[in-house]
């Protein structure tokens, strides 16, 4: 079985965001980069899938700047077999052009099953996985919480978490794409032997231009700005009974919410 996982390298969750003076994006300098958390679930699931299907091969794919190689090495250190780095060549990508490039790489790779994160935590679009599936004409299950192979390994039973704690269970024939949710698995830490092995695992380098097929962005992000700052309000004084009484009155009379 050929298993792929797609990852995105994003700023660390603690990053203090600074906007460029021309509002065209965020200031890049001094940012620590990580594999987007939901993508980590995808890497882990790819490794677990190989463990359940001996003789399989796993590949991690990313589209991004040169520094993305580091993210790939982390995935390789966790246990992925091979990596593909698609260089974004300093171009701006929207979800559609990102998906176009990734879908082309997946098609070329002949994969049976692809895991992604349900969204990347930088741009918070949550669109690329579904767009890749559409371009490949594959079924998708997003918000993946559980997945099991059928006995013949030609399909899976996949559980998707929806609103209010409900769960939808799908029967999906492969090839198919899955958007991983927290709770699907617990990503392993890279072991020291894993880190050493990762240094010599193959990293194929591709250029995004070659995979775009002339596609151009369907939308643009403009006018980056900081949100209105939420200022501190009041701390209610007095004994607990007084505080509780006052809060409820304020919520009704001042905030007009209750």
């Amino acid at each position: 079985m050929k298993i792929a996982c797609l990852i995105k390298q994003v700023p660390d969750t603690e990053t203090k965001i600074r906007i460029k003076s021309d509002a065209s994006g965020i200031e890049d300098s001094g940012i620590k980069y990580i594999i987007s958390p939901y993508c980590e679930f995808a890497v882990e699931e790819a490794i677990k899938t190989k463990e359940k299907n001996p003789g399989s091969e796993t590949t991690v794919i990313t589209l991004g700047a040169e520094r993305g190689i580091e993210a790939l090495r982390t995935a390789l250190a966790m246990g992925i077999d091979k990596a593909v780095h698609i260089d974004s060549e300093s171009k701006i990508f929207d979800s559609f052009t990102t998906a176009t490039v990734l879908a082309a790489a997946i098609k070329a790779g002949g994969f049976d099953i692809v895991f992604c994160g349900k969204q990347a935590i930088d741009l918070d679009n949550g669109q690329v996985a579904q767009m890749v599936a559409e371009l490949l004409d594959w079924p998708q299950v997003m918000i993946l919480e559980k997945i099991d192979f059928t006995a013949d390994k030609k399909g899976v039973v996949a559980t998707r978490r929806v609103s209010g704690g409900a769960r939808e269970i799908y029967e999906v024939a492969l090839p198919a794409l899955f958007g991983c949710e927290k709770g699907l698995n617990v990503p392993r830490y890279a072991s020291l032997p894993g880190i050493m092995k990762a240094k010599t695992k193959p990293v194929e380098r591709l250029k995004s231009f070659d995979l775009l097929g002339g596609a151009t962005p369907l939308i643009n992000f403009i006018n980056y700005q900081l949100p209105p700052e939420k200022m501190a309000g009041k701390k209610l004084p007095g004994e607990p009974a007084q505080q509780a009484h006052d809060l409820v009155r304020l919520l009704r009379e001042e905030a007009k919410i209750i």
């Binding site: 767009m131 998708q140 501190a232 509780a244 009155r249």
Partner: protein, 325 residues
Amino acid sequence: MSDILVLAEYANGKIKKTSWELLSKAGELASQTGGKVAALVIGSNVEGFVAELASYGAQKVVVASHASFEKYNTLGFTKVFVEAINQLKPTVVLGTASPLGKDLFPRVATRLKAGLASDATDVRLEGGKLKARHPVYSGKALVDVEFNTSLQMATTRPNSFPVKPANVGAEAEVIKLNVDPGTLRAPMKEISQGEAGKVDLTEAEIIVSGGRAMANADNFKVLREMAEVIHASVGASRAAVDSGYAPHDMQVGQTGKVVNPKLYIACGISGAIQHLAGMRTSKIIVAINKDPEAPIFSKADYGIVGDLFTIVPLLTQEFKKIMAE
């Protein structure tokens, strides 16, 4: 054509409030384009929703009804949605950034090569083109999404727009879509229900959340009792979830749910950046924490420095009193 099309969602036999708010917003946009507000409803026996959709502002209702659509199906619904758009030729298509909307809109947009803005907190028309406001970096920044395509699609965050009062008895033109799903790929085998009647955190108007200070899962009972009185949904911080006090789907935050309530009551939550990322657009934030230096107080409209196990039961009593007035 300059119609605004809304994908309507329903649950428990009723159109969801999130669809009402979209119909209201669509009405505003349509008055600027000179087009009509249209609603699309996909499912089994969904003709019954026409009256309600009309009352909330739909002037046209596209009904895509088929027994196969009793349960959601990504590819089946994608095909029908695309057909409806091709038939109606709207200029803007709106939906909720719900699990369904987030699943469906990217596929439809890709099939139609339409620009898509996801999880928008506002949509407006500027010079005849749609602009959507979208939080990025977990809400630490905002961007405007501008479209390079004539067909413009967007999903919006629940509770982003006010709902215009219903005009009961309003009528809409009904357009029956000829639906032929064929054999569905990747069918849903079953759905296992969550807590009946509970509003999902992402759509809740009032939320009470517990943090690590809850100390165990049982103690959430204290929050549930208060939530019951004010019709709130109950959430949790990552610390509480990782400690096993609450399940993952209660987590509010960067790697949990993003919520947009009018009132958020944070109990024993310190207010880490990653938690704020999930609830910073709450209209009113109340913080209850023993630690006067907890970061959450710098973002709270109202703060109580105190033990949540003392304060929350007192609040429950006070809420009961005021709700009875």
